[in-house]
C-alpha cells in the first residue's frame, strides 16, 4: 500500500475567526466603546457567537482570550462551559451551585459587562446629564455610572464633549452613597484625583497603582460625611478583574484600564463624577438647561459687580452655610465689607463648570474662577457654589466655598496666579 503525500485540509483556526468577524459584521454589532481589541471586547464577541449558536467560533475567541488573560476568571468560566458542552463527557458544571459566592460574583460580573454593552448601553452620541458645562481648561472628564459598574471617559473639545471609551469597574461591597467611615460604600458626588501612586509603592493589592480622590469634598463635609482613602485603583496580580461589588469604597479597574486612564486622570484638573442616577441626553437637550444656568450665574455676577447688596443677598438661601460655617447673614455681611472697600469693581466669571450634582435632587454645582478688579490689583478666587432648585422654581445658593487650591495631580497653571480667599 502506497501513501501518497497528500495535501489534506488541515484544521485552520483562522478560518473560524474570520467567520466570527463575518457574523458580527453582518449583524451590525454596535460599536463597543471598550478598547477595540481589549479582553472585554473579545469576551463580548464570544458571547455574541454563543447567542448565534456558533460554539466553535466562541471557543476560538475564548481560547485566545484565556491565553492572553489567564486571570480573567469570567473568561475561564465561559471557556469551561463551552469546552464542557463540546466534550460530550460529563464534567461537573460549577454553575449549578448558584449559592456559591464565587459563582455568583462571576455571574454578576458577566451581567454587568453584558448590560453595559447591550440593552443598557447609552446611545452612542448621548452624554451623561451630570455634566452640564465643562470649561475648555479641562481636556477630559470621567463619569462613573455607579449602578451599572461602568466608567466613561469624555473628551472635551473646547467645551464640546464626546465619549472616548468606557470601562468595567468594581465598587464597594455595600454599593454607593457613602456616609461614614467603614460603611463599605462608594461615594456619590463630584471629585477630582489628587495624584498618582504607582503600584510599586503600594501593597500588591492595589495592582498597577492608585489615583486618590478628594473625598470628602466640601459638600460631603457640610453633610457630615467622613471616611477617607477613596481611590481609583488597580487589581492584584492574581486577578484580571474583581466582582462588581468588591471594594471597601474604592473604584477598582483592571490594571491595563487603570494605566490607560492615567493621561486622562492626570490631565488638567479632570473632574471625576461618581453618579448614582445618570441620564443620557443628546447635547442639544443639555445645552438648553445649561443656558438657563449660565444666565443665573451671570445675574449673580452682575449683582456683585453692581454692589447691589439686596439683589446679591437674594441669591442665597435662608439655610445657607458657607464652607467655614457662616450663615447667610454673616456671609453676606462679610462679602459686603469686602466689596465696599473697593471703589471700582470689575467682576468676571472664568472657567465655569456646571454639574448636576449626583445623589441630590435639584442641586447644581457651579465651579469657576471669580476675577475681581483689573490690572495689577486683580484677584483670582476659586469658587464652588451649590445651587438648589426651590419648590417655586427659583435657584438659590445653599453653599459656597472658596476652596484652597488643592494639591493637584499636576501643577496647575492657574495655581501660581491664585490668591486664596480675599475675604
Amino acid at each position: 500500500m502506497a501513501f501518497a503525500p497528500a495535501r489534506a485540509p488541515r484544521f485552520e483556526p483562522q478560518r473560524w475567526r474570520a467567520r466570527v468577524c463575518a457574523v458580527l459584521f453582518a449583524l451590525g454589532w454596535p460599536a463597543l466603546a471598550a478598547a477595540a481589541d481589549g479582553p472585554e471586547r473579545q469576551l463580548l464577541e464570544a458571547v455574541q457567537a454563543l447567542q448565534q449558536g456558533d460554539s466553535r467560533a466562541a471557543l476560538e475567541q475564548l481560547e485566545q482570550l484565556v491565553h492572553r488573560e489567564p486571570r480573567f476568571r469570567l473568561a475561564q468560566l465561559l471557556y469551561g462551559e463551552v469546552l464542557a458542552a463540546r466534550s460530550g463527557v460529563a464534567v461537573a458544571d460549577p454553575l449549578i451551585d448558584r449559592n456559591d459566592p464565587h459563582v455568583r460574583a462571576l455571574l454578576q460580573e458577566l451581567h454587568a459587562r453584558l448590560a453595559a454593552a447591550g440593552d443598557q448601553a447609552p446611545p452612542p452620541e448621548a452624554l451623561p446629564d451630570a455634566i452640564l458645562r465643562l470649561s475648555a481648561r479641562h481636556r477630559y472628564a470621567v463619569v462613573v455610572d455607579l449602578p451599572h459598574a461602568r466608567l466613561y471617559v469624555l473628551k472635551n473639545n473646547g467645551g464640546t464633549l464626546a465619549r472616548a471609551g468606557d470601562y468595567y469597574v468594581s465598587l464597594a461591597k455595600h454599593g454607593y452613597g457613602k456616609r461614614s467611615a467603614g460603611d463599605l460604600r462608594t461615594p456619590v458626588g463630584v471629585y477630582r484625583v489628587t495624584g498618582f501612586k504607582p503600584g510599586r509603592e503600594l501593597p500588591a493589592f492595589y495592582g498597577a497603582g492608585a489615583f486618590p480622590l478628594n473625598y470628602p469634598n466640601g459638600w460631603d463635609r457640610l453633610h457630615g460625611r467622613d471616611g477617607d482613602g477613596i481611590w481609583l485603583h488597580g487589581v492584584p496580580r492574581e486577578v484580571y478583574a474583581r466582582p462588581p461589588r468588591a471594594s471597601e469604597g474604592c473604584v477598582v479597574l483592571a490594571n491595563d484600564d487603570l494605566l490607560a486612564l492615567k493621561p486622562v486622570l492626570l490631565a488638567d484638573d479632570t473632574p471625576v463624577v461618581l453618579g448614582d442616577e445618570l441620564q443620557w441626553r443628546d447635547a442639544a437637550t443639555l445645552a438648553q438647561e445649561t443656558e438657563a444656568l449660565e444666565r443665573l450665574i451671570e445675574d449673580w455676577r452682575a449683582s456683585l459687580a453692581a454692589r447691589d447688596a439686596r439683589r446679591y443677598a437674594a441669591f442665597y438661601a435662608e439655610d445657607f452655610r458657607d464652607g467655614r460655617g457662616l450663615d447667610k447673614a454673616g456671609f453676606v455681611a462679610a462679602q459686603r465689607r469686602f466689596v465696599d472697600t473697593r471703589r471700582r469693581l470689575k467682576v468676571r466669571v472664568r472657567d465655569l463648570d456646571l454639574f448636576r450634582y449626583p445623589g441630590e435632587r435639584g442641586l447644581v454645582l457651579a465651579r469657576f474662577v471669580e476675577e475681581v478688579g483689573s490690572g495689577r490689583r486683580r484677584r483670582l478666587i476659586r469658587k464652588e457654589q451649590y445651587w438648589r432648585r426651590e419648590p417655586d422654581g427659583r435657584w438659590l445658593i445653599v453653599c459656597e466655598e472658596n476652596p484652597a487650591p488643592q494639591p493637584s495631580a499636576r501643577p496647575a497653571r492657574l495655581r501660581t496666579a491664585l490668591a486664596t480667599s480675599a475675604e
Binding site: 500500500m1 501513501f3 503525500p5 497528500a6 495535501r7 489534506a8 485540509p9 484544521f11 458571547v47 454563543l50 447567542q51 449558536g53 460554539s55 466562541a58 481560547e63 484565556v66 489567564p70 476568571r73 469570567l74 475561564q76 468560566l77 465561559l78 471557556y79 469551561g80 462551559e81 463551552v82 469546552l83 464542557a84 458542552a85 463540546r86 466534550s87 460530550g88 463527557v89 460529563a90 464534567v91 461537573a92 458544571d93 460549577p94 454553575l95 449549578i96 451551585d97 448558584r98 449559592n99 456559591d100 459566592p101 464565587h102 459563582v103 455568583r104 460574583a105 462571576l106 455571574l107 458577566l110 451581567h111 453584558l114 448590560a115 461591597k173 492584584p236 492574581e238 466582582p243 461589588r245
Partner: protein, 398 residues
C-alpha cells in the same frame, strides 16, 4: 497548561499512556515488511530496545516506510523517550497528512505532557480527514473535558493541588474508563465504573482496521505514574451529566430562586446530627434561642470547613435550588467547603418568623469570606422540626 500542578496531571498522564497502548491497535492495515513484523514481535515480548534497534537499521535504507516509522514511535513511547516519539509522529503527520493515527497518537502524547490544546489540534486534524474516526472523537471529548475542568478551576480560584476537587475525579474516572468502555459511540458520556476496578489497564478496544498488532497486547509495562487510590468522594463523583447548555448561560442569568414549593414533609431523618448544638437541643416551635443556635452552628460548621457536620444540618428532603440533584449538590458543597484555605461565615441580624407549628424561616445577612474573597447576601433558611431537631429544608439567597 504548564502552570498546572503535577498532582492534577499525573493521573491524566497515566490515563493518556493507557490510551496510547490501545491506539497501537489502530494501526491501519499495511503491507507489513518482515523486519517490522519482527520488531513488533520483540515489542510484544517487552524487548523495546531490541525492536528499536531493528527498526533503526531498517529505516536507514527504507526511510519512508510509514508503518516502520509508526512502530518506531510506539517503541520510543515504551522506552519513555516521549519527545522523540512526538517527533516521529509529528513527522508522520507531515508526510502522510491523510493518516489519522499519527495525529491521534501525537494528541495522546501531548495530553500526557499536559499540553491539551496541542492535543486537541492534533485530534481535530485527524478528524478533518476521517470524520468518523471514533477513537479520535473519544479522545477529543476527554481533552475538552480536561480543558474544561482546568478552566473551571481557574475561574473559581480552586486550589490546584487540592485532591478533593470533584471535577478532576469525575474526569479521571472517565478517562480511565475509555479504553475498556465505549468504543464507537463518541459523545455518549460513559457511565463511570467503580473506581476500584481501574488498576490494570484494560485490554485495548479494537478500533477501526484491526490488524494483529502485537504492541497493543503488551500491557504489563508499568504506566509512569503511581496509581493512587481515589479518595472516598470518588463514589459521589459519579454525577449525572449536568448537560451544560452554554447558550443558556450566556444571557444575564436571572436569580434562580423563583421555584417554589418545598417537597412534602419527609419521614424521620435517619442521619444522626453530629453537631452538639443540634443534638443537645430539643427545640419546640417557639424556641427561638434553640433555632438561632442551630443557624449559628450551621455557620460555624461551614467556617470550620467541616462538610460532614455542615451537611448534617440539612434535612433528608432538602431540595437544592436550581433543580440540582441532592448528590451533585452535596458533592459541590463538600468541595466548596474544603477548597479554600480558610472560610469565615457569620450570621448577622437574624430574624425568625414562624410559618407553621413545626416550620420557621430564619432570614439574616450572611457575611462570607475566604482568602481575599468576601461578600454579603441576604439569606433565608427554612427550617423544619424533625423529631426534635431543626433541619434546613430550603436555602434561599435573595
Amino acid at each position: 497548561m504548564s502552570d498546572e500542578g503535577s498532582p492534577v496531571n499525573s493521573p491524566l498522564r497515566r490515563a493518556a499512556a493507557i490510551l496510547l497502548l490501545a491506539l497501537g491497535a489502530a494501526l491501519p492495515a499495511f503491507a507489513t515488511a518482515p523486519t517490522v513484523q519482527e520488531a513488533q514481535t520483540l515489542m510484544s515480548k517487552g524487548d523495546y530496545a531490541g525492536a528499536l534497534g531493528l527498526l533503526d537499521a531498517y529505516l536507514a535504507h527504507t526511510p519512508q516506510d510509514a508503518e516502520a516509522r509508526f512502530t518506531r514511535g510506539l517503541a520510543l513511547v515504551k522506552l519513555d523517550r516521549i519527545d522523540e516519539a512526538i517527533t516521529v509522529f509529528s513527522d508522520l503527520t507531515r508526510d502522510y497528512p491523510k493518516l489519522p493515527e499519527p495525529y491521534n497518537n501525537l494528541a495522546v502524547l501531548y495530553a500526557q505532557k499536559g499540553e491539551y490544546e496541542k492535543a486537541r489540534d492534533a485530534l481535530e486534524a485527524a478528524l478533518a480527514t476521517h470524520p468518523a474516526y471514533a477513537t479520535a472523537h473519544e479522545n477529543l471529548g476527554d481533552i475538552y473535558a480536561a480543558l474544561a475542568a482546568a478552566a473551571y478551576n481557574r475561574a473559581l480560584q480552586l486550589d490546584q493541588d487540592n485532591p478533593t476537587v470533584r471535577q478532576k475525579l469525575a474526569l479521571i474516572n472517565q478517562l480511565t474508563n475509555i479504553p475498556g468502555g465505549v468504543a464507537a459511540t463518541a459523545g455518549t458520556p460513559p457511565a463511570p465504573a467503580a473506581p476500584a476496578a481501574e488498576a490494570p489497564p484494560p485490554p485495548p478496544p479494537v478500533a477501526e482496521a484491526a490488524p494483529p498488532s502485537p504492541p497493543a497486547v503488551a500491557p504489563p509495562a508499568a504506566p509512569p505514574a503511581a496509581v493512587q487510590p481515589p479518595p472516598a468522594e470518588a463514589a459521589t463523583a459519579a454525577l449525572p451529566p449536568p448537560a451544560p447548555s452554554v447558550a443558556q448561560t450566556a444571557p444575564p442569568p436571572a436569580a434562580p430562586e423563583a421555584q417554589a414549593a418545598v417537597s412534602a414533609p419527609a419521614p424521620a431523618p435517619a442521619v444522626p446530627a453530629p453537631a452538639e448544638a443540634v443534638a443537645n437541643t430539643a427545640p419546640a416551635a417557639g424556641d427561638d434561642q434553640a433555632i438561632l443556635e442551630v443557624v449559628n452552628a450551621w455557620a460555624q460548621a461551614w467556617s470550620m470547613q467541616d462538610p460532614k457536620t455542615y451537611l448534617s444540618f440539612y434535612a433528608d428532603d432538602f431540595k437544592p435550588e436550581g433543580g440540582v440533584s441532592r448528590a451533585a449538590w452535596e458533592a459541590q458543597r463538600r468541595e466548596r467547603l474544603t477548597a479554600p484555605s480558610h472560610i469565615s461565615v457569620t450570621v448577622l441580624e437574624p430574624r425568625i418568623s414562624h410559618v407553621g407549628a413545626h416550620r420557621v424561616d430564619v432570614r439574616f445577612v450572611q457575611d462570607y469570606s475566604s482568602g481575599s474573597f468576601s461578600d454579603r447576601v441576604d439569606k433565608t433558611l427554612e427550617l423544619s422540626d424533625r423529631s426534635g431537631a431543626w433541619k434546613i429544608v430550603r436555602e434561599i439567597v435573595h
